[in-house]
Amino acid sequence: MLGAVDQGLIIALLALGVFLTFRILNFADLTVDGSFTAGTATTAIFIFNGVPPLTATVAGMIAGALAGLMTGVLHTKFHIDPLLASILVMLAMYTINTRIMSLGHDGLERTNVGLLSQTTIFTGLVENRLRGSWVSVTLIGAGVVIVALVVVWFLNTKFGFAVMTTGDNPGMAAAMGINTTRTKIITLMVSNGLVGLCGAVTAQYVGSSFIEDGRGMILIGLASVILGNAIFGTRYLWLAAIGVVVGAVLYRVAIFWALKWEFIKNSDMKLMSAVLVVIALVVSQSKGANALVTRLSPWRRRSDVPEQMSVVPNPFSPMAEVDAAHAAATASQPSKKGTS
């Protein structure tokens, strides 16, 4: 169980990356499947070649960021649709990742790298049999919280505001002097860097890297973001970031319990992830479900739910008369809202 929490916390790194592209930049970025494996492959082969684990982890993060850079360049410079640009990179990364895995000092071609006998960032935990304990949860949790804080800080800078504007209203962003090419590419790099970092840590946690590692990771990230944001809302950035981390842990723990059921095989996970995301997407469109979660969750307020544009009556406003007239007009037509 605590092992599942460990893994959920590690997946939160990826989910934070997905949050940046899908939610903030409004960019459906499927590069994730490729950049995750780029992270696991790079880190694994670096450690295999005797590079210190921390350096190898950073290398995995950079590998992910470079995948994001490719998607960004394809989209902004060559005007390829976000979805298509990221699928192209995802496909290309399969070959590149195989090449990365074949960079071992023995020159062998590989599609998987084992790390069980190597020193990793988790060696200390493994030797003391603390993997999947409160100690590992605390340590990994602390690391993830620091990364989440960095993400929130990033979005609260002047550049971060520009990124949010780019995602929210690209036309206005350009009119405000924001170079949207730059904000998009940098955000894609940060996002996929986080995904690469997640891959780097995952490879060391599970002790191997496999070429198929990344398949379906985008859905897991998306499920975490949808789940977390449904519970915590997106009223404040920090609350949304907490939601993403909690969502990832909840998702992983749910999978852990599902696997306890003998009927369910390991290979069923992909279908379950897909079904879960479909359910989450359908439910998040339902007004009733939204209202229910809003009522149940103490972190969400009614004002979170987008309402019809309303004007707070201000008696000193030069528009006070208009507001009053408008209020009177809507009050006299109570059925209008229901039928529209």
Binding site: N169, M172, A175, S303, E307, S317, E321
Partner: protein, 262 residues
Amino acid sequence: MLTLTGVSKTFYPGTANERVALHDVDLELATGDFVTVIGSNGAGKSTLLNIIGGSLPVDQGTVLIGGKDVTRLPAHRRAARVARVFQDPQAGTAPHLTIEQNLAVALNRGRRLTLGRGLTRARRASFAEHLATLEQGLENRMNHRVGLLSGGQRQALSLLMATFTRPDLLLLDEHTAALDPERAELVLRLTAQMIDEHRLTALMVTHNMEHALRMGNRLIMMHEGQIVSSLTPEEKAQAEVSDLLDWFSQKKGGLSDRTLLT
């Protein structure tokens, strides 16, 4: 402040849908000029603003702002000098960002985007002062998302965001057209107030002849991609809506042979 020389723009050249939006347009605005632009649909008014703002490239001609040739610069590189308010209240603000975040983005218009904090206490205080001038009570709702505001409030906010950094040139593209008459009147009043206060050079496109006469010191009329008439401050002060209407039908008649030929 603004000099257009021989600006031409054709949409879909070489196809059946070819349409000349601007034909050899020259326009000169001195610092402090406030020019209103009228003309029928398809006269090229919006194209003119899009070309000055940089969201459309020119086919021919040059655009100078403050003496600097900006013809080849994209919109985001002109933004330090040019501010815009669009017709659609949704176009000028970011709905999921709060009022103060929107203002912070506007404050950074054309400046280098650093990793410094986007909002500080001092900046919030200054935003509150500016918002108070709108008399909408927005200064008490600064952490509300802009998507929750009404169209009129959004447009007032867009106007504030466009003017409080004192741009060299303000472009208003039918910015009251989507509002009901009362709110349009209010936004228009705020427009006059802000242009006056910050001594801005402005270009305002409108369909409302009465507004076109009341606002600004100069007036130009466009027809089929050309500036067909221009009123000096003295002429404008004397003109009335009926004069404009006469003038309008006259110009239209005068040019109709061209329409017949095409």
